[in-house]
Symmetry: C2
Subunit: 201 residues, 2 copies
């Protein structure tokens, strides 16, 4: 194919990429609520109909843009990315530090807050968020915790999904309720509580 | 004052109450997003301007309606309501069961989800939510946990705010991310983890 004829597949890929980038940038600049599909299309240099051909709603574009950012970041939690150094506390710490840094970043924090807000009145978006982000990350985390149980690092009768809900729940609690800034020291304190327990040793 | 002359203070109190009740009912029926200030005014039998005289926004009315429901419920967490049976695990359990039951109730669940969603793009509402609901509840919980430390039920170097973030964070995680239904068994499992710790005893 001579170079003067554009390749539609490559053009599509470039447009797709430009839309995700435009979404991340605009939400970081203006906040989720203030960003329209029109504005995303304009910034990406595509027509609004191009966006609606690929995604049903602004929330769906935002979810893919978020997924894209999480996948390419350490601690993003996409399946398969869990470290195994043989020390479960350190591996949890590294993953949680990564998530905390993403949540406090200019690009991911406001995008994720906006998406979870939008999902409260959009059951399809809420479902897609669970299926595409939360559940794959939970599967990968549960697999790593199962190894830790086999190796005797975690007692056999502890409920690992409840552990995940508590450790990650504390991060989402701060992201969404804005109770305290997310900082890494709190992650160390939470790991101290769950591993040592609250009773005097 | 003869009974035929209406008392403005009592009339105001009745209207105020009617507005809060209308907000709770309408959100339970239609979902937070679908409810307008006009609809609340109509259901409460007041003018829209009456609502805007007392509250700056729908979110502010919703926050007071939620606060009202939480205050009158067991486990609602308004300050001063923490039990002290002398057993910190049982007292935490009772409070967390109460919150979980509120979160899964038809009246509080959708109202609270809608409010937290709205607060993501409304910093004043987010601040008011912290000041009026979260912080008083945290103060009361920290006071009870401080007693438990004094009595040696919790080791002195455990960070109680991190404990609160994890235990309550897990409940908010399920309320807002819809990962799993809130159930009381998960509360027992979370208390088991934080009190016993994850290591083999």
């Amino acid at each position: 194919m001579p170079p003067s004829v554009p390749d539609p597949a490559r053009r599509n890929e470039r447009s797709h990429r430009a839309i995700l980038e435009a979404t991340v940038e605009l939400v970081a600049e203006l906040g989720y609520e203030q960003v329209s599909v029109e504005a995303i299309a304009k910034r990406a240099g595509v027509g609004k109909q191009t966006i609606y051909r690929w995604w049903p709603s602004k929330g769906a574009v935002a979810l893919e843009a978020l997924d894209d950012r999480l996948r390419t970041a350490p601690g993003g939690g996409s399946s398969g990315s869990w470290p195994d150094t043989g020390d479960i506390v350190e591996d949890l710490r590294v993953q949680m530090y990564g998530v905390s840094e993403l949540f406090t970043s200019r690009e991911v924090g406001p995008l994720y807050q906006g998406l979870i807000a939008a999902a409260q009145c959009d059951p399809a978006l809420s479902r897609a968020h669970l299926d595409q982000l939360i559940e794959p990350a939970s599967v990968a985390c549960r697999a790593r915790l199962a190894l830790a149980k086999e190796r005797g690092e975690i007692r056999a009768d502890a409920d690992v999904q409840t552990l995940i809900d508590m450790l990650w729940g504390a991060l989402y609690y701060r992201l969404l309720l804005h109770t305290r800034p997310l900082d890494l020291a709190q992650i160390d304190l939470s790991l101290d509580i769950v591993f040592r327990g609250l009773r005097d040793a």
